[in-house]
Symmetry: D2
Subunit: 361 residues, 4 copies
């Protein structure tokens, strides 16, 4: 296990389904910042299950509580522990699911790595693990916003084979994203995506999708070459999320087919600094933010747990048919939107503090 | 700067163009392993400039020397320092290139981050920085091969708009890759790619490309959820390379349009353990290797330094035209093949030692 | 703040006086180990206040609860969060103590470092911070004992000017230590120490002391030269405890006056390995455990908070007299015994896992 | 091995006796600082062997060379590699010393930990390992001096049973220390110490000693509770040095016998901040520098390699007599003075950057 992330803004997450609680310890948050549960709850509520008809009906309130690190509504500079109690804490016998590793799920690899696994299906590989990330990310998000005016907005840009047209990265807001339960801000596309998710749900199947994200007003100079370049840390952060299979930034995979003369972003003056005419770089050059919008995409595979019968084998290697019970989201991307934003915030805040160490803003 | 990578197999790289040398300190290599320069030089020679007509004519021998950590051809368990002397050590006045930040290069962001930058163009953002990675990666590669039979093979799967058809991941070898100077193992595609690179070179332009990589015989259980999942560390490693813009693993971005019932990899028995019928997971489930082939792709943008005139501004914001002098590779992917392999080896070896710590193989 | 300790057995502590709770996240504990609260509570109870007449009458139950990382009484390999609720959670106005920094306490340096401090006196510099360390240490202690038979026993070897005669390191047990409330296992000395503490308490003063500790049956080979030598990590661990001012190991400061011919520990055979005739090295040579008993001493200064009037100044620099209110231990060493043991366990377990990574036992 | 130290100012040392070279990679040095070999050589020359009649006659020039990270005499913000070539690079057969582990030396524990060891006696446990520390420390020393006016001065306060009287910490300079070859600034004591070292040398024996160190003008606020408190990192740094057995700070072990009313340091006004009337705290309260002088002591055991015959056993357990050949310092403390200063500088600089990250000076 490696559940600690960050060099100076360091988060240590804990908790799995069916234990007493999930949460995070945030160490390295600047002191004297105003912080209460009200700063954290909104993003947690955006990620909680049961918030729309597209999500599992398992409704959890996911109320966060600050256990340490603040007093009279201000941070003390000491570790902040954030805890969300699990409603259902009873580990159960999951019947055949404990006998049969779910295809493309972590049941088998956890069992082989640890020699044991949470009986309750998922454990630390469950999406519930991301609660600590989102709680910590909300703190980073607030700090980045109040310190630099950073705005981080993610949205669903593809569900299955349905892709949204280009969204205006300069203006898109969380409110516009949340206007559609599928969290795609393009209304017509959102409607089609919603229909697809409902079809997939009815078919006891699942589908993948893509989340896009933009970070605006990021100060120039963030990113620590060579191994902690900004895009490297973003890539690690995103690929550490459950169900992710890809990450690209700026022109990404599509840009590989271009010529340098098409792809390069010429400089133009912008007040005392330089800006660029185009932004194929995605706001990063040489691993360092250049003051332009940072934007990237994250690929999510179809949810592994499906109700359709699957021919597979049990742990002993005997052929069997698995029909997963229980309710699972048929598509994770709508709920993953705040999770992607949170991981971006964790990366940016840690790099901002590291830059501040060497060259105060 | 953050030039140290790895938790237990820890590499610290150093050096830029036009200083005395470039290299790496490798800390945490197991003791009593046979190691001489002959184990390291081949991969360095595969990445050196001037090895083919597609690469810059700036030919450097890039001879590696082991300065510490071995005796009588065996590792001592102590830090191994590997040094490659730079042939041309004179920092120079690069003329207009020191006055004009190259579009989409790191000149501007380095200057703004550090308040200074190497005059000689590139400095630590130069591809020369990767020598230390490759030298260290060769050690990891040898250890993984001799300990587990791990085979890591990368190849060029796209140059510009030309993509190779599917390569047989189970059998592809470095020799087959090196049979074509463009390092695409599909002969007909390689010829077209080579032609494209030559055209681009003649046009004083550049092009991007994609590298694919497979890691075979990786033991089950590598990867440390949640933040150091195998795919997360691979993503960080690859996006820390110069000119990279994307990473995906297994089905990657393409898999996001599938249904779970299509995408899931059903289990089948394989001796004492389980295998999977398909491998859309790319050898990783829940962030942990499952014993199947690990395969992934890395996107490289077109080289930023081109000879074509570019309308841009100088550091002071004055409009100007930049025509980059000097010889630069028009496409980095052929030489980047051993670099991608090396980063994969660094990731796998570190995770193998970490797994060994908790549960000896 | 830096509240995370360890490379592979990583603990992240949190909490201060008067917040909701204190505790720790333990990441990297081997899976499938039996673990319940009953394994952790005994050491916590040995450190809690109010356990004897020598300690503050502020009695807290300090009941620990496992929030994550175990199921059916076994560890899952996932982060273990241990929480102790604070009984009194109301931050209060501490009156003049919030206006006057206590001499030799952390009030002033915290205020200057963070620009804020816990109003309630102490905050993260309070001894209450050590609860997370002890809870985590109890896990390490159990693992070391069950894996290698390691026995870690600390005791009070000095209170003020009263020093205990040499204790037999080979046999001393926690039960013998706990037979005297001052936790010095030499009865006559313990009686004198107890009398001294009572006198100091009556005088509204405080006193310092020394704790000695032995670690038996530590496997050969622990310690990672050069910066994480065994004695270096022990020194860091002990000097990170509140009120500590010194650490020495083996012959320590006294050994500096000896000749090499007196001080060297000649080797003698012991079964398949070597032992040493004397043990001035304290079980460590070259930063690596040599299989002999590890023993060391930790110096604790007199408690800073005393009831006697002190001439000092307030935060604004105005002369004043401070007479600290409230009840405070007049001497910390009896309660610090399990804390020293816990820190030793954290160091040894982390180094054992690191050694296992490179060379399985 | 763990040869990397520091969070933001990160040094990675390498090299042992009889390999090609020893040195260090310094990552995280602020950019645009003036730096040439002339800044580094003086401290290296103070630690080199053969500088006085008290040291081994093996004279090595130990010329340092900057291989990377600077250009035109200024740091680039990139990793700085510093290399000292070893004069004698031939690993040799050390005869009986390779058959017989030296008592209280690292021969045996290295062999058992790694399954191999440098034939040439010492390897990474040799004092030669400290060259990289001193070279890196010289950079930190310069930065601390030029940024804050920090002055770090160490001296020999005891050799064997001879202790120096109190030295005026407020004024002592490196020049005064170097006025005596034994590096004790008290002339009469220095003479007696020198005589003792000469007697011990003549007797083919060795002796231990104590080094004291003061750090003046350290800014208020350095130190990261709880695990990276200032005194904890100093303790780790000092106990990571070869031959060290103890560390104490401020009143140290002696202060444990005092009462709180004697030991506490009352505050007094000093301009805009507070000072303390006494300084038993040694400049640290709650793990954080308080602006007063930081002072501490380090205990060094007698050198293990002595010419006197020692009854011991060989690696196979057979009884034998060892009479070490070659020339070794009979007392390490004179040459260890710059090493202690260097480690203090590494600790302070790293903590200064970390403090700067959260709260710019």
């Amino acid at each position: 296990m490696s559940s600690t992330f960050g060099t100076l803004f360091k988060v240590s997450t804990f908790g799995e389904s069916h234990c007493k609680g999930v949460g995070v310890v945030v160490d390295g948050c600047p002191a004297a910042m105003e912080l209460t549960e009200a700063d954290i709850q909104p993003q947690l509520s955006r990620r909680r299950p049961g918030q729309s008809s597209l999500s599992t009906p398992r409704s959890e309130a996911d109320q966060v509580c600050i256990y340490s690190g603040t007093e009279f509504g201000k941070t003390l500079g000491t570790p902040i522990m954030l805890l969300v109690h699990n409603r259902d804490q009873r580990p159960q016998d999951y019947g055949e699911m404990s006998r049969i590793p779910r295809p493309s799920h972590a049941d088998y690899s956890y069992q082989m790595k640890y020699g044991i696994r949470a009986s309750s299906g998922g454990g630390r590989s469950s999406a519930r693990e991301t609660i600590g990330r989102v709680a910590a990310g909300a703190i980073a998000d607030k700090w980045l916003r109040s310190t630099f005016g950073v705005e981080i907005v993610a949205w669903v840009s593809a569900v299955g084979e349905i892709s949204a047209p280009d969204i205006d990265r300069h203006s898109i807001s969380r409110a516009e994203v949340d206007a559609h339960i599928v969290r795609c801000p393009h209304a017509a596309t959102a409607a089609r995506m919603q229909q697809l998710v409902e079809e997939v749900l009815a078919a006891k199947d699942s589908t993948g999708g893509v989340i896009s994200c933009v970070c605006r007003n990021v100060p120039l100079g963030l990113g620590e070459p060579v191994f902690d370049k900004l895009e490297a840390k973003l890539a690690q952060a995103m690929l550490s999320l459950p169900a992710t299979k890809g990450f690209d930034i700026g022109s990404g995979f599509a840009g590989t087919s271009l010529r340098g003369s098409q792809h390069n972003d010429p400089f133009i003056p912008k007040g005392q600094v330089l800006s660029t005419r185009s932004n194929n770089s995605g706001g990063v050059q040489g691993g360092i933010s250049n003051g332009e919008d940072i934007y990237f995409r994250v690929a999510f595979k179809p949810v592994a747990t499906i109700g359709l019968p699957q021919e597979t084998v049990d742990f002993a290697g005997n052929s069997t048919i698995l029909e997963a019970k229980g309710r699972h989201d048929p598509c994770v991307v709508p709920r993953a939107v705040p999770i992607v934003e949170s991981m971006a915030a964790l990366v940016l805040m840690d790099l901002a503090l590291r830059q501040q160490a060497h060259r105060p803003f």
